[in-house]
Subunit: 218 residues, 2 copies
DNA sequence: GGTTGTGAACAAATTCACAGCG
DNA sequence: CGCTGTGAATTTGTTCACAACC
């Protein structure tokens, strides 16, 4: 009986696992059955020592002198990331960004089906975007709770982002992906990640004047 | 004559400056003339010691016993980020995401005017989105060079992202913001930041199973 | 008194370098 | 022999705690 990996996985490692996953999917698609930390590092854009260290937190899934079995590692990384199940999401804000996110098929394919869109604009409520009904923002707690949604995506203007976060939390959402340029205050049991376009551009602006320093994001 | 700040500003600090900037803009909008590291920390969602340490890399712009002058600090942070000038950008990929980005007014307002959109689809080339002409992707090097664009935003499907990056680099772009789920290889003189929606969701998926750990992004 | 600015202590993340093993 | 897995060294980032100063 193999020991379960007992180490706590560092945050920086967790953030890279999805990139390794994507690289492994690519390799699997090319019918590659075995790979080295070197090759994986190249595909993921990091160095080999980091790959080995990161993967070692999950367990000893490689073979010395040989490398990693692509399919096996793929499964282990998926499992570690909790991707063996679907996580239904809702998108709040049916404006340009919200609609673009809903239309971007990549979500459902990758295990994050969009079960509802919300907006506060009566003109939008009741319409359908990318096959998903746009519902009244006030119904967030009810719908989220009823359909067991775990992840909420905020694509609203900044001034209402906190209110929306509160509604999502009230419905029992445990993770929020925030596209609004606003800092959210939530219960510590809720995970928040933010994506702020203006912030990214401003960071690039900094390195535009100074020399770049391999500024890689997220 | 005050010494110019000679310290190299840490990457982690650079990534937070835009958040402080936003907080300062908010304070200025509320006609607040002076603020403390404590208050700024609250608005930015970090702790006060970090704010002070971060700001100290820029210079000594506060007053002991009093705090920071909002307008003055606002200017200093802007200047440090290189936001006293406009940085024209181009968006490559006029699909859902590219169009949403072009329509999102926040760019131009914040000093990043969108000067062109590019696509490879003949049906899109020649149309206008958000007041911006959609040009042929093959013209990227020429247009970018001619209009002195410094930042390119990639909103294409993953398989062509590297080609687009090469075209942008050929045109002399020095920064790239990459929304495609692909690792880009570019000359080290080019800064790259990436925003990957699937990656963000997968990270949240991880913390969905484990407890959250104040997982804050970017 | 109040708040900044900063060395020093601490923690996290990265990289090195090599023992261990197939 | 080759490549993983990992302690140890190093670097980077965070937090503490207090002297300096208004």
């Amino acid at each position: 009986m193999a020991e379960r990996p007992r180490r706590r996985i560092p945050e920086a490692t967790v953030a890279r696992l999805p990139v390794y996953l994507r690289s492994l999917v690519e390799l699997a698609g090319d019918r590659v059955s075995t790979t080295s930390s070197e090759r994986l590092a190249e595909l993921a854009g990091v160095n080999a020592a980091k790959v080995r260290k990161d993967l070692s937190y999950l367990g000893s899934y490689g073979t010395r002198g040989v490398g990693y079995d692509v399919e096996y590692l793929l499964f282990q990384v998926s499992r570690e990331l909790g991707l063996t199940q679907d996580w239904p999401v809702v998108i709040v804000g049916a404006g340009n960004l919200g609609a673009a996110l809903a239309n971007y098929g990549g979500f459902g394919d990758r295990g994050f089906p969009v079960v509802a869109l919300f907006d506060s604009d009566p003109a939008k409520i009741g319409t359908t975007i990318a096959g998903v009904k746009v519902l009244d923002q006030r119904d967030i707690p009810r719908v989220v709770q009823a359909s067991g949604v775990a992840i909420g995506i905020i694509a609203t203007p900044a001034p209402v982002a906190q209110d929306v976060a509160d509604l999502l939390a009230a419905g029992g959402v445990r993770s929020i992906l925030n596209f609004a340029p606003a800092v959210l205050t939530v219960d510590p049991s809720v995970s928040v990640r933010k994506v702020d376009l203006a912030v990214e551009l401003q960071i690039l602006s900094f390195y535009q004047q100074r020399g770049p320093n391999q500024a890689v994001g997220s």
